[in-house]
């Protein structure tokens, strides 16, 4: 039974199957869902297996190292882990910012400089919101290690913590950020989504069209079967551009197929707005230059080792699939 089923797979799918930890209910995992639902994986000869996402980097890393996972889209927060030996490489930024630093409605904090001496809530030590905030703090001449203190809350509780006054500001991600803005009147201090090249944002170190999430591929796969890895990249590329063109339809698929759980707030209108704002597009060369920028920033902020050789780390962290087209 299973043997012939395998043969069936290899006949229909040139490169066999891949496993992607994607099913975590998040909106911006759209490329996984769309590549699967719209047949981009299949078209490129891949039988995709979408499974739960452990979210915890160390668990993901172990999954990649042991060959249980093949690809995933994730934030640039993986950089320190890669430096510590995680067997994954980024292959192009996949969409733009979904990270924001918010303050409650009546907060006296008006800009990054006001954050001095304040407590900032973040989902985890070493999470992207912490890094984004740190970059902005650095650009404002503040030391992210000394001038602010960080307090950890799980993502769903950050807004609550700020409302209760446990923290002065929160670094968070969409859709939680979007919801806090819309429903609870949180004000944005930092937004890493600088699609238009806003000068204010650029001053805070948010690059124009800067990638936020990357497509990550297992080192093992890149080394053992680069064609298959390329096929993955292609699938995501096609999915991303499809999403960019059809944000509304993407939102509908996410909600209808149960990738994202429906709530009063998480509806087609809001989800498609989030997707629209994120400007999905798998950009290979831009992704690399952004990553290089993040490496220098994180090193300066002390999140990477002091003796980091930027170019070496970039090589370790980035793979250019050199797609034919």
């Amino acid at each position: 039974g299973s043997n012939s089923a395998k043969q069936q797979v290899s006949k229909d799918y040139k490169y066999g199957s891949i496993t992607i930890p994607a099913k975590d209910g998040s909106v911006c995992n759209a490329p996984n869902y769309i590549a699967y639902e719209k047949g981009f994986f299949k078209k490129n000869g891949l039988k995709a297996n979408l499974v739960a996402n452990p979210r915890d980097i160390s668990d993901l890393e172990a999954g990649f190292a042991s060959g249980k996972y093949d690809a995933q889209n994730g934030d640039f927060q993986y950089l320190p882990a890669i430096q510590n030996g995680a067997q994954i490489k980024a292959a192009g930024g996949i969409h733009q910012g979904c990270i924001k630093l918010l303050v409650p409605k009546n907060s006296s904090i008006k800009n990054v400089k006001d954050l001095k001496g304040k407590t900032i809530g973040i989902p985890a030590q070493g999470s992207t919101p912490q890094y984004v905030t740190s970059i902005a703090l650095q650009h404002a001449g503040l030391d992210p290690k000394k001038d602010v203190s960080w307090k950890v809350f799980s993502t769903d509780l950050l807004a609550k913590a700020a409302q209760k006054g446990e923290v002065d500001a929160i670094g968070t991600v969409d859709p939680y950020a979007y919801q806090a803005q819309k429903q609870n009147g949180f004000k944005t201090i930092i937004d890493n989504n600088n699609y238009s090249g806003n000068k204010e944002m650029a001053k805070m170190g948010m690059k124009k069209k800067g990638s936020c999430c990357y497509l990550y591929i297992s080192n093992k796969l890149i080394q053992s079967n680069s064609k298959k890895a390329k096929a993955i990249v292609k699938s995501y590329q096609e999915a991303a551009s499809w999403i960019n063109k059809h944000p509304e339809e993407t939102a509908k698929i996410e909600l209808a197929k149960g990738y994202v759980s429906k709530t009063k707030f998480i509806n087609v209108a809001n989800v498609s707005q989030i997707i629209k704002d994120e400007h999905f597009n798998l950009n290979l060369s831009k992704g690399k230059s952004d990553l290089s920028y993040y490496i220098s920033q994180l090193k300066q902020a002390g999140y990477l080792k002091k003796d980091t050789k930027n170019a070496e780390l970039l090589k370790q962290a980035y793979w250019n699939p050199k797609l034919d087209n």
């Binding site: 496993t19 930890p21 099913k23 975590d24 209910g25 998040s26 909106v27 297996n49 979408l50 499974v51 739960a52 996402n53 452990p54 979210r55 915890d56 160390s58 668990d59 890393e61 172990a62 999954g63 190292a65 042991s66 249980k68 769903d156 859709p175 939680y176 919801q179 149960g258 994202v260 759980s261 429906k262 709530t263 009063k264 998480i266």
Partner: protein, 339 residues
């Protein structure tokens, strides 16, 4: 002097059962309370029907739940008032509790969806949870089966390993000397720290999941089993020897039954832990499952779904718990019941 009155065997067994039911369910049958509990449920229905809601809820599932609950009570009370058996004892005992539950249903409905004193998203009414279960029923059924299968296989493996290790460590002090220090160290490593290692060590993530749950089980079981074996009176070992038991027979006929009461304590302790680990372990590689469902719902902060999964887990837990309780009662039927 052998004139002790000998009850027939059947009589004795029946008597014991009745007696047990009566000491466990001790509240007497009172018609007043039976009626009150029905009234409370009717009140819950009426309140839900007539008080206007501030939140948007589909109360259909909740109403059916109330009707089913009502019918169930009517039936057991009817049976109980005719037949003087276990049903009467049982339903008489719980009538007061049912009354309060009815009132609690009214209260929770009022303070959540009706007057929104405590609000969404963190606080939801029971009606909303039931409606969520109805909406997601397909996914939830698939998740329940998947989780149950994973749990069962892991729990059995964990228990077996725990019992075997515990028996050996309790019986053979050389074995204990060499293994206890290592097991102690391994046992206190929190599961979260294990997760990456298990992913690296085990070939498939399903095996890693099984390991994580089994791991949460074997430690308390082994720990309790050791204590159980060590508490067996040496008299039993010595009589076994004078009766010609081999070492294997001693293990099977003295060590295992003697440690069984403690083994059950270990198993019950492990139950709660195993459910916690189920939720955690389903974050690696599961496609469906109650733990996965909770994590998924948390992805956008849909607490109604989280609560829906918890209600199902609570029901599952209760069912497994009472099954294990029955098993324990049977396996330890040789014990004198206290009181």
């Amino acid at each position: 002097m052998l004139e002790t009155v000998t009850l027939s065997k059947k009589q004795r067994i029946k008597a014991v059962k009745q007696d047990k039911a009566e000491t466990k369910y001790w509240k007497p049958w009172r018609t007043t309370w039976n009626i009150l509990s029905l009234v409370a449920l009717m009140a819950a229905y009426a309140e839900n029907q007539f008080v206007p809601a501030q939140e948007l809820v589909n109360n259909g599932a909740y109403k059916w739940f109330l009707i089913a609950y009502f019918i169930y009570l009517v039936v057991v009370y009817a049976v109980g008032s005719v037949i003087h058996g276990r049903i009467r004892v049982y339903s008489g005992h719980f009538a007061q509790l049912n009354t309060i539950l009815g009132l609690l249903l009214v209260v929770q409905d009022l303070i959540t969806e009706k007057f929104a004193i405590i609000k969404l998203p963190f606080f939801v009414s029971f009606a909303q949870i039931l409606d969520q279960i109805k909406t997601d029923q397909k996914l939830l059924i698939a998740s329940t089966w998947s989780s149950l299968g994973l749990w069962l296989i892991s729990f059995v493996i964990g228990t077996l390993i725990g019992v075997i290790l515990g028996l050996f460590m309790g019986r053979y002090r050389q074995f204990n000397y060499w293994s206890f220090p290592f097991l102690k160290v391994i046992g206190i490593i929190p599961a979260a720290a294990w997760m990456p290692l298990t992913m690296v060590i085990f070939p498939t993530s399903y095996l890693a999941e099984i390991f994580l749950i089994a791991f949460a089980v074997w430690f308390p079981v082994a720990f309790m089993t050791i204590g159980g074996v060590q508490s067996i009176s040496t008299d039993y070992f010595e009589s076994a020897k004078t009766l010609g038991f081999s070492e294997f027979q001693i293990l099977r006929k003295v060590v295992i039954p003697g440690a069984l009461p403690n083994i059950f304590i270990g198993i019950f302790t492990a139950m709660g832990l195993s459910f916690t680990m189920l939720v955690i372990s389903e974050m690696i590689g599961a496609k469906v499952g109650l733990g996965w469902y909770i994590n998924w719902a948390k992805g956008v902060g849909n607490y109604t779904q989280v609560y829906a999964a918890i209600v199902i887990m609570a029901v599952l837990f209760s069912v497994i718990f009472s099954f294990l309780n029955k098993l324990q009662e049977y396996a330890l039927r040789w014990r004198k019941r206290s009181n």
